[in-house]
Each structure stands twice: as C-alpha cells, then as structure tokens.
C-alpha cells in the first residue's frame, strides 16, 4: 500500500465520499443537454429577429431619404441581434465541444451543423412571426426601440415630404392619409400613380415620398406599401413594391436623385 493510496482512502473514509449515483449523473446530463437545447432555441430566436429586422429595414427607399436623414443607412441594421446570435452560437459550439464525443468532430463540421440548425430553425421561427414578437417584446428593455417604432419615426417627417400612415379616403386625384401620430394629410397624385391608388383600399398602410405644400398637402412622388414581413398578423397594404417616381422636376429636386428622371 502506497502513501498516496493511504491518503486517498483516508479522505474517502473521513469525508464519506461515494461515487455519484446514476440518477445524479443522468440529471447532470439532462441539465447539460437542456442548456444546449435552450441555447439553440435562443440562438434561433435571435436569428429570427435578425431576419425580421433585415426584412423590414426599409432599405429600398433609404437611398432617397439620405439627403434628409444622413445616417439613415444605419437604420435597421440588427447589430445587437447579430452580436447576440454570434455569442450564442459560440456558446453552443463550446457546449457541444465539451460533450463526451464533441471533440471527435472537426471544427468546420460542428460550425456548419450549428449554422444550419440555427439558420433553418431561425427561418421557421421568423416565418411564424417570432422575430416580430421578440423585437416587440424587447421594446420593454430600456433604450431598445423595435424596428416598427423606428420605421414609424423614420416615416414621420412631413416637412421633408416623407410620411406614412393609413389611407382613410380617396378621390379622383387625391387621397387622405392619416399618419402614425393621427394627423391627416391630403396627398395629391399624378395620373401615372392613378392605377396604384385606384386599387388601394381604405385602411391600407402606405409610405409616401412627396413634395410638401401648405395646408397639410403633399404632392406625391412615390407610393410604396408599408413593409410588414414576418409579422404576427399580416398588415393590410397595397400590392406594389416597386418604387415608381413621378417624372417631375420638383420630385427630382426634393429627393436629390442621383440621375435625372427620364422624361
């Protein structure tokens, strides 16, 4: 019997050390795998939020607003969620690596599996409206503004002819728009936009780029649907997605279009 063997057995006897029971080992494994599952779901939810914010970031029209909103290009970039997703993916990677057989797989294999799982699950959750829910729920956090709120703020600049809201009445060459602050605006449109507006329904949500005039009047340069992808409930809006500008000098001047519109 060696000295070390004696010391070990004295410690085992003195402290009444026993091998951990099978149920405790199973419980430990269960907790560990629950943690991994939870991390994967959280990572997918975070990625769903990245998708939701990216899908609703208004990048199709930000270029036209750059003159009035110099840092508009930063709008809707989901930095926080991308960072959160990356941190969670790293956590999942470390957790998988620390399993009994996690080290048997090459780095690239583990990374691809994590990316694919998070990507597919994240897309499914985004399609089911969970990205929207998470973004909205995060609005309760101090300093966090959901993309919906940011978009509404971005599109509430009637002084620059940038406005969004609900169509509440239509006539032959104009319609009434109620913005998100409940102010009403008369939007006068040219014949080129008539086919779009005539197809619009009351309560459709739209975005407007135009030239502001007095008496709450705006001359329409472009009309687009209010973007609402991956939302819990579909939002009623017009069908056209293309940004169709009215070919006029005042529109060209108002939005400092890089290339003059072709007449």
């Amino acid at each position: 019997m060696t000295r070390l063997e004696d010391t070990i057995f004295n410690t085992i006897d003195d402290k009444k050390i026993e091998p951990y029971s099978r149920s405790l080992i199973l419980l430990r494994r269960l907790v560990f795998w629950t943690l991994i599952t939870f991390s994967i779901i959280l990572g997918a939810l975070s990625f769903a939020t990245v998708l939701y914010i990216s899908a609703n970031n208004q990048w199709d029209t930000l270029a036209f607003m750059a003159e009035h909103r110099p840092f508009a290009f930063l709008h809707g970039l989901p930095f926080l969620w991308l960072l959160f997703t990356a941190i969670l993916m790293y956590g999942i990677y470390k957790e998988i690596r620390s399993t009994k057989t996690g080290h048997h797989y090459e780095f690239i294999t583990v990374v691809i599996v994590i990316l694919a799982t998070t990507g597919v699950l994240g897309f499914a959750l985004y399609s089911a409206g969970f990205g929207h829910r998470v973004d909205q729920f995060s609005g309760y956090l101090p300093g966090y503004r959901p993309i919906e709120i940011k978009n509404r703020e971005l599109w509430t600049h009637p002084e620059h002819g940038i406005i969004a809201g609900y169509i509440i009445a239509t006539s032959s060459n104009a319609f009434i728009l109620e913005d998100f602050k409940n102010a009403t605006w008369t939007i006068v449109y040219a014949t080129s936009h008539a086919p779009i507006i005539e197809n619009a329904r009351l309560q459709d949500q739209v975005r407007i780029l135009g030239v502001p005039y007095e008496d709450q009047e705006i001359h329409l340069c472009a009309v687009m649907p209010w973007q609402a992808k991956g939302t819990v409930r579909p939002i009623q809006t017009i069908g056209e997605r293309k940004v169709e500008f009215v070919r006029s000098n005042e529109c060209e001047a108002q939005f400092k279009l890089r290339r003059p519109l072709q007449h």
Binding site: I8, F9, T11, I12, P19, Y20, F107
Partner: protein
C-alpha cells in the same frame, strides 16, 4: 480475490460494489500519472501528490460517468489528470522549463526511427537536448509529443485526453516533430 489481472472496466464494476477494489486502480495508475503530471508541469513533488489525490478522488466520485463505449478508462483518467494539472499550473504559472525524461529510451528509439536525427549524436547528450527542446515547444505541441512518445498513447486516446479531433492530433504531432527537428538542428543553445 485477485484483481491484478482484471481489466480497468472490470475493476470499475467491482469498485462500485466494493470500494476497496479502487486501490487496484490507484496502484495501476499512480506511477503512470505521477510521471505524466511531472512531465507536463514543474510543480514540486508535494504538489504532484495533491494533484494526484484530487485526480483519484474526482475519478472515484465520477466512476459511473465513465463510458467505455466512448473511450478507454486510461484516456478518461489521463483527461482528469491533464485538466487538474493545467488548472494548477495556470494558477501558479508553473510551466515546465526542463522535461524529465526518466526511463524513456523507447522515446529515443522511436524518434530515431522516425527522423533519423540521432545518427551522429550521443544518445544521452541528445536526450538532454531533446528534453530542453520539448520544454521549449508551444504547449499544444508539447502535449501531443508527451502523450504520443512518453505515454505511448494512441491517436484516439490523445484525442480523448486533449479533447481535440484525431485529425488535429495527427497535424499537431507532425508539426511538433518538424518544430523539434528545427530546434535541434538550429544553433540555439538548448
């Protein structure tokens, strides 16, 4: 009952019924683990005893967590020893400056066969230089060299002990040998 000839797995099974059998596991691994710990750290002998005590008690507590389908008991207990030792030398910055070669003529033979670097050098002198060269290797390379040549572990066991893929073990071992060769062939005083 005579347990000397039992396999590790059989000893574990019997230990779970009679803790006295654990003495055979200690006897079987004390020497090997002591040499291994001495090779990967430069803590005093007393501290090595403390490390080993922790290793065996941790192994005893977690005996039911050992899964023979995943790897060997030897790799499992070496993994515990490696983790404990690393955490001790991280706390104390006790990285080895010189590697204790002990009775490792087999290592010299292996390297001789592998690299043919011993042709013109006296074996003992070379062993001294080799020990210093190994100690100067980055820890990731030193770990695989020690496990492969000193502890004579298989790639699978090294993979389980260091928790890296087997492909990485092979790559690291290859690079470690190249680095060792460079160190030994350079004029740097070792």
């Amino acid at each position: 009952m005579e347990y000397e000839h039992y396999t590790d797995e059989e000893l574990i099974e019997h230990t779970l019924e009679n803790k006295e059998v654990f003495r055979y596991i200690i006897t079987r691994y004390e020497g090997k683990l002591r040499r291994y710990v001495r090779r990967i750290t430069s803590v005093p002998e007393q501290d090595i005893d403390d490390i080993l005590q922790e290793v065996f008690i941790k192994a005893y507590k977690n005996l039911r967590d050992f899964d023979s389908e995943v790897g060997t008991f030897s790799a499992w207990i070496y993994r515990i020893a490696y983790n404990n030792t690393v955490s001790v030398f991280r706390r104390r910055s006790a990285r080895p400056e010189y590697l204790c070669l002990d009775d490792n003529e087999s290592l010299l033979e292996t390297l001789r066969a592998d690299d043919d670097v011993l042709q013109e050098v006296e074996a003992r002198e070379f062993a001294e230089r080799l020990a210093r060269a190994i100690a100067r290797l980055p820890s990731a390379y030193r770990d695989v060299i020690i496990l492969s040549y000193f502890e004579e572990k298989s790639y699978k066991d090294i993979s389980d002990i260091l928790k890296i893929p087997m492909g990485t073990v092979a790559t690291k071992l290859n690079r470690a040998k190249q680095k060792l060769k460079q160190l030994l062939e350079s004029n740097t005083k070792l």
